[in-house]
Symmetry: D2
Subunit: 342 residues, 4 copies
Amino acid sequence: MIRFECDYNTGAHPQVLEALAATNLEPCPGYGEDEHCARAARMIRDLCRAPEADVHFLVGGTQANLTVIAAALRPHQGAVCTALAHINSHETGAVEATGHKLLPLPTGDGKLTAEQLDELCREHETDPAREHKTQPGLVYLSHPTELGTVYTRAELEAISQTAHRHGLLLYVDGARLAYGLAASDLTLPDLARLCDVFYLGGTKAGALFGEAVVILNETLKRDFRYLIKQRGGMLAKGRLLGVQFEALLADGLYERIGRKAVDQALRLKRALLDKGWPLMVDSPTNQQFVVVPDEIYAQLAQKYSTDYNGKPDPDHTAIRFCTGWSTSEEDLDALIADIRAL
Amino acid sequence: MIRFECDYNTGAHPQVLEALAATNLEPCPGYGEDEHCARAARMIRDLCRAPEADVHFLVGGTQANLTVIAAALRPHQGAVCTALAHINSHETGAVEATGHKLLPLPTGDGKLTAEQLDELCREHETDPAREHKTQPGLVYLSHPTELGTVYTRAELEAISQTAHRHGLLLYVDGARLAYGLAASDLTLPDLARLCDVFYLGGTKAGALFGEAVVILNETLKRDFRYLIKQRGGMLAKGRLLGVQFEALLADGLYERIGRKAVDQALRLKRALLDKGWPLMVDSPTNQQFVVVPDEIYAQLAQKYSTDYNGKPDPDHTAIRFCTGWSTSEEDLDALIADIRAL
Amino acid sequence: MIRFECDYNTGAHPQVLEALAATNLEPCPGYGEDEHCARAARMIRDLCRAPEADVHFLVGGTQANLTVIAAALRPHQGAVCTALAHINSHETGAVEATGHKLLPLPTGDGKLTAEQLDELCREHETDPAREHKTQPGLVYLSHPTELGTVYTRAELEAISQTAHRHGLLLYVDGARLAYGLAASDLTLPDLARLCDVFYLGGTKAGALFGEAVVILNETLKRDFRYLIKQRGGMLAKGRLLGVQFEALLADGLYERIGRKAVDQALRLKRALLDKGWPLMVDSPTNQQFVVVPDEIYAQLAQKYSTDYNGKPDPDHTAIRFCTGWSTSEEDLDALIADIRAL
Amino acid sequence: MIRFECDYNTGAHPQVLEALAATNLEPCPGYGEDEHCARAARMIRDLCRAPEADVHFLVGGTQANLTVIAAALRPHQGAVCTALAHINSHETGAVEATGHKLLPLPTGDGKLTAEQLDELCREHETDPAREHKTQPGLVYLSHPTELGTVYTRAELEAISQTAHRHGLLLYVDGARLAYGLAASDLTLPDLARLCDVFYLGGTKAGALFGEAVVILNETLKRDFRYLIKQRGGMLAKGRLLGVQFEALLADGLYERIGRKAVDQALRLKRALLDKGWPLMVDSPTNQQFVVVPDEIYAQLAQKYSTDYNGKPDPDHTAIRFCTGWSTSEEDLDALIADIRAL
């Protein structure tokens, strides 16, 4: 079985693993107060051109999402997101478990628009019964989205202005940010300039695990480490997170991993389009969602694993192909050849 | 201004107020452990033909909803409801504040169907990624619904069977149950037979305040008073709730209040239909939702208060008329005459 | 049985009940947005000499406590209180259910001192592992305390300064404030000047129910009605609370109720002391805690109900006598005579 | 600086690191549904002689504690523990953040007794006002405790019987279980027989991170993976946990790590006792708490790092020495020689 179902089915990029081995016997203070974390944080601040940013390293994405959102909101506030948002659809109600309602907006391509956000906020603000409703307090975006689509700089600028005009914070979930940076005009300095908080994902981009939360908003910075600890997100051997991000960011590795996987995915996308199979969305990143006839799906499934995404009609199946740091050219060539031969 | 905007804009039915005055100086134990509460509970058990039911008196509906739902669910479970459900749209995220996600289903007439419920449960049960999603744990219905519509006995039987087949509890919010009993074939013994828990609303049916929660499910009965106390719902002078429900239930008053307001609303409904104004739904209860041209709305608003329900198009406004225990025949006659004259 | 076990075992003071009856048929907007609530709020602002204060009316004390504390704290913060504090000992973990730890301090007389508070805060601030601990965010006092003792103006000034110096909010639970005002030099303007938020209790001072939360802190004022609604504390017929507080405050009734019950309790206290029975604390308010030999307790219990407070040794029982708005002079005379005769 | 302040300041035992490297490129399903986790779970069931046990791998201890406790309790229940318990003193209110109060009991040596537990439960059960108090629902023990002391089999049997007789679950936090197994007569099969749930700590015993939660109680088993996901504890590359526990358990490594560190700590303990310095408790495990004169502390601190534990009087300091998998004989010999020379 050749695996294309996700971007986290192998371990770490060799350079990351080497860094862990090289530092294994170094005695360090616990809980992220070591020099590796300090250095990795500095590297991120530099890349973001945000010398005032606070950087915290958490183990995983759900943990980052629930910790950030619960830190940002007052009890009566909720997080605006798309109906497809990971926090709404794939985290077992983790945000609600911290006491906050989500306010999902409809989406076709996984993206939310400044217009939708503006309308929702204006509706709330002008509703005479608004005190009986959840107040929008934060906007949650994924970049890339759950469907692999990306925001442009102009789109994020509009969302950021709209959010701030209505008093909302802007949070970007960057679980797959490595791939988003390779596929849109949005840069790390843009994110730091436009967001109140966002994270650079490590788990899906070559780390064993780890997400780097970058906080720009002054109020949100305050006491954030207490909140990490309270939600169970403070790793005893926090150095592991620092060491991994040092390795990922040291010589452009993070960028190269993103670039490579996106290039592979785009090669695959061309092959899918050449067959005339409809894509669910036009994704420029490492996830490609395609609808194939069931007999094709059956044939592919004998050799390749993909992620099942439901049946749009009785005769077709929607599947996701995913490339990642460990996707080999050989495997991709084989897949593309097999697709062309079908 | 003659008021038709809601069914809780006056105080209590005179018989209720008299009962409160008559018992005012009686010393009673606190927290609902008095003889009035015991007697009112007995009356409800009798009316429900449910000698094993537990009955608890709470002050208000949001409190009843959040206490019941948080008591019924494990942390990873959510409550299925309609998108229009009061808990989803008008309680400021009260259920989410106890840690639970809502699972809203689309609705046109305010009702949820057994088929929708079955499909949602089957989808969850067969989803390979279900552990990443909120598990349906309870179904929340309002009877009458937020749009004034009602469930039939057959519909509630189907929902009850579906819920229980999938391991969910069934909870019916009866904030306006007095009007539902007057307008459908569903009886209190039916509710006691089909639900795990439901409540008879007092606030909107002639009490100063108060809702009677009836628990049939054995597991849910356990320690329920602890949960009432914890959520701030245990009234120190709990006798006030017992006294009011004794008065409401003593000689069929609750039923008469429901019947009278429904009859009034149906008279009004005929007048609205005679004008050719479209109703939002075909409601058989004390709430009537109608869409009127804006100039008509402006004329009505000079003399009558109604509840604004948005603008379906630039030239029309949706409004709710509500009757209640204190709606006088004179006021209703005036309204109907004015409508006919428009 | 003549009842002295608590101050909430009868209904409302006749003037309160009359006001409810007089306004019963008045149509009012719901949810506390009526003229009665507005007027009662104005009266409280005047009495407090705090024209900028926000006043909200809630149904009960546990509800007020959990709503205020959850509104005031960030997720990693806790409420400092005494070990005997009502929120720590008699509310079924209501505050914890909103996600916040309590930080109880030892007490003999039910009071907390500025020194204790200062020490706890300094310990936290200087603890290198403080991020692993709950951060003190608010001080909760009861005035009078759960043992009937009171704070002096100088004591509350010291606590207020200490709290604010360490960045904590000060909250005073005034469930029995009517009795505290009658028994200490602390006035309503003092409370408004020193606290961030406090409440005037109605339930235990002649109302059917109701507590008036007074907010001085600007940040806490923001969106407080959303939070009341979310916690289930927004009464549909909110007018009932406004009407009752108007009646209580209109002509000094609240003060007279407090004064009368305290005078009665002090008469009783002299009788208890004359017998040589030790008091648990030296209470100047309407609650008197006394330790009596078991045979005395048995004799008293045949005619008088009291609140059982445990057995300090095998031969003695601690009990509480409570006076209130409805305690008659006849009943008190009988009790005192019987005590003297024992 | 030679480090003795904790047992988690280096990376992983070389065998653990090798296993991670050896499996790095293996493609695996995510979220702990891989063969490594399955194998490690099997090994734990075998070691516990508990073929029916469920085993789940979580990243850290706070996460394990909050997930287990929130899964086990109904909303009105709390966890009994000692005042020194990690959940009470060092987890930033993580359990309270899930809505549950802790019920701490006084302790001198870090242990809780069956008698204390029995008394607390009986007091609750016989309290007429118990519905106003948090109901004990679970007992939390640490073995070894936060002071390094251990429970005997007889002690745990008594606690287990007491807990179950009163309807409470028994949960043992085994963050340092490797050292407890080396220092008491309690075995893994004993824990599996007496507890409802416990965990074997990896982080403090040679893993990079990871705790293995073992569930014996049938009710608690149900849907536990949903709860892990909801609390942010489900690692995407869950294989990392399986691989590490396979390595730790494969050939008795876990036991050897525990044995070695305990032997080292006992050698150190003899040296401390020989100096006449009082120990805070008589610990048989890898943590030794000693009270030293301040000038001694100053001298030691120039060469050795220890964990500061407060000042029992103005002239003395309490410190903790900790040994672990990576403590070398050379470093220990140097420390002991220096102590003897002081």
